[in-house]
């Protein structure tokens, strides 16, 4: 079997990327960023707050953490609910104790079902980032464009109605987008998305949308759930990352440490202490600036 001749043709082999979504830019060559009060490292904590229907639809794909057994999967349905009822409140208390504000990437189903949770987020001064509708609201190429447009609108409209504020940020489930997503987000008035993990500072798509990179490697899902490491190791890795970025920022300009956490992973009794110690450690660094996503975007935009 011989490959078709087209397999050795490379029509997008050219300077820059093989797509027109955003331009190439080396972080090293950009004008250095400074954060408010001369802080060197922006620490952006983002919590994913999710509701998993017990009936997964798999259109276009099943979200990570979704139901795993034949119906009815009490095990995963309730373990995810544990995150919202218990784990998330442990996280809220930890943030309050540390005195930090964060982003909460929230399924709009959480707002519809549990308005108290939304009120508690808003009362603490945290930011809500739109995180689709519920954990069946996945996006990938193949999802009809009208369905994707409607899903984005439903998420934003519901979160605005329940929280009183229209989210300006968007996080897709599993960071999965279709070819249409950047334009649909822009069309819906979204200012920034968090899906592309190619950088360590914000950057702009050609259509004007901003990407605030939420590094999936620096998440409890990746380190604890996927790589099966402990919460103590997770905390150590975040501190190692902070130390490196802090040193780098001395000569290369402001850096950002995103920390992506999940209530049903880090919010467990045997893990939360390690996370609280991590927060206490980082809050004690004079060079750390804790800020929600939109505040970081504001600081960055003002310097472009």
């Amino acid at each position: 079997m011989t490959l078709d001749a087209s397999y050795l043709r490379y029509p997008k082999r050219r300077a820059g990327y093989d797509h027109d979504l955003y331009p190439w830019s080396a972080l090293r060559e950009r004008k250095p960023i400074t954060w408010p009060q001369g802080k060197r490292v922006a620490v952006w904590i983002c919590v994913s707050l999710e509701w998993f229907p017990i009936l997964p639809t798999d259109t276009p794909f099943r979200a990570p953490g979704h139901m795993a057994t034949p119906y009815p999967d009490y095990r995963h349905y309730t373990a995810r609910d544990y995150g919202t009822r218990i784990g998330f409140y442990r996280l809220l208390d930890a943030f309050a104790k540390a005195g930090v504000t964060v982003s909460v990437a929230t399924n709009s189903a959480i707002a519809e079902r549990y308005p108290q949770v939304i009120a508690d987020i808003m009362a603490a001064g945290h930011e809500i980032i739109a995180h689709s509708t519920d954990m069946n609201g996945t996006i990938a190429t193949g999802l009809p464009i009208d369905d994707e447009r409607a899903l984005i609108a439903a998420s934003l409209d519901t979160l605005e109605r329940e929280s009183g504020t229209r989210p300006t940020g968007w996080l897709s489930i599993a960071r999965s987008q279709s070819w249409n997503t950047p334009d649909l987000l822009r069309e819906a008035g979204v200012r920034y998305c968090c899906d592309w993990v190619n950088d360590e500072l914000p950057w702009r798509f050609n259509n004007g949308l901003i990407n605030l990179p939420l590094n999936h490697e620096l998440s409890d899902r990746q380190i604890i759930a996927t790589h099966q490491q402990s919460a103590e190791s997770f905390a150590e890795q975040m501190i190692d990352a902070f130390d490196w970025l802090s040193a780098e920022a001395r000569t290369l300009g402001g850096r950002m440490l995103p920390i992506h956490v999940t209530p049903y992973i880090l919010g467990l009794p045997y893990r939360i202490d390690a996370f609280e110690r991590l927060l206490a450690n980082l809050v004690g660094r004079e060079e750390a600036w804790f800020a929600p996503g939109e505040t970081i975007i504001d600081a960055w935009s003002a310097q472009q």
Binding site: L3, E29, T141, R175, Q229
Partner: protein, 292 residues
Amino acid sequence: MDEGAADPDLYDFSAYRDRPKIVWPDGKTVAVWVAPNLEYYEIDPPANPQRNSWARPHPDVVGYSHRDHANRVSHWRMADVMSRHGFPGSVSLSVALCQHHPDVVDDAAERGWEFFSHGIYNTRYSYGMDEVQERAMIEDSIATVLAATGQRIRGWLAPALTHTARTLDLIADYGLDYTCDLYHDDQVQAVKVKTGQLASIPYSLEVNDHYGFFIYNMSPRAYADALIRQFDRLANEGATSGTVMCIPLHAYLIGQPHRIGAFERALEHIAADGRAWIARAGDIVDAWRAQQ
């Protein structure tokens, strides 16, 4: 290779015991080389009948943008750490990177790194290529790297580790000196080819950062400890055998902020030990060849 045979007849059997000792320059016991993979993965590659590229419908945002991190952020972070401790790179290069992001290739060239081919893209696989097509890929690699860096490539690591039964013969036919695709030894070994001569240089899957982090699920510090143990053992044994240690890297993995510090401590350990001949792949193959 002997296509279709149960034993592909790539090389002769040779037990580790009782081999002639390989001597590295200045009496060093282990030749250490670092192999950064400088890659380009296409966002929307054509399908190969025998292997899918991305696990998800295109664009696979995390898959693509994770690798893009190398060419925007982490290449320089990784390269600075290597340069700081005196480690040149021997680059496994998706040669189309010369067109897409020449700044990355130029940075590596300016640091005195060696380049070998890792195919055109890491999303174009050799499976199913006929000889004409495979020769075209090799000739493209030679010409592209020569034009971009002035170097004539001496080695090959198959794109995404995809081979045909004729790859080793073809790269030897074009005068390449080494393959990184065979994992049967801790020393340089001769490979059987139809024309010319070819050596296999120990690359490594086992201490490749991708294996460390994504197959063995090591924490950054555990991976650095594995590199140190790998080095210490090979340096000890090398006193009687002359060993090779390769550290294959991907900037988008090792250059992440939570990993690079631990990795730097491993390089510090190796550089400070005194038994390492820190070299490029071609130099190691030449030193071995001179002793055959």
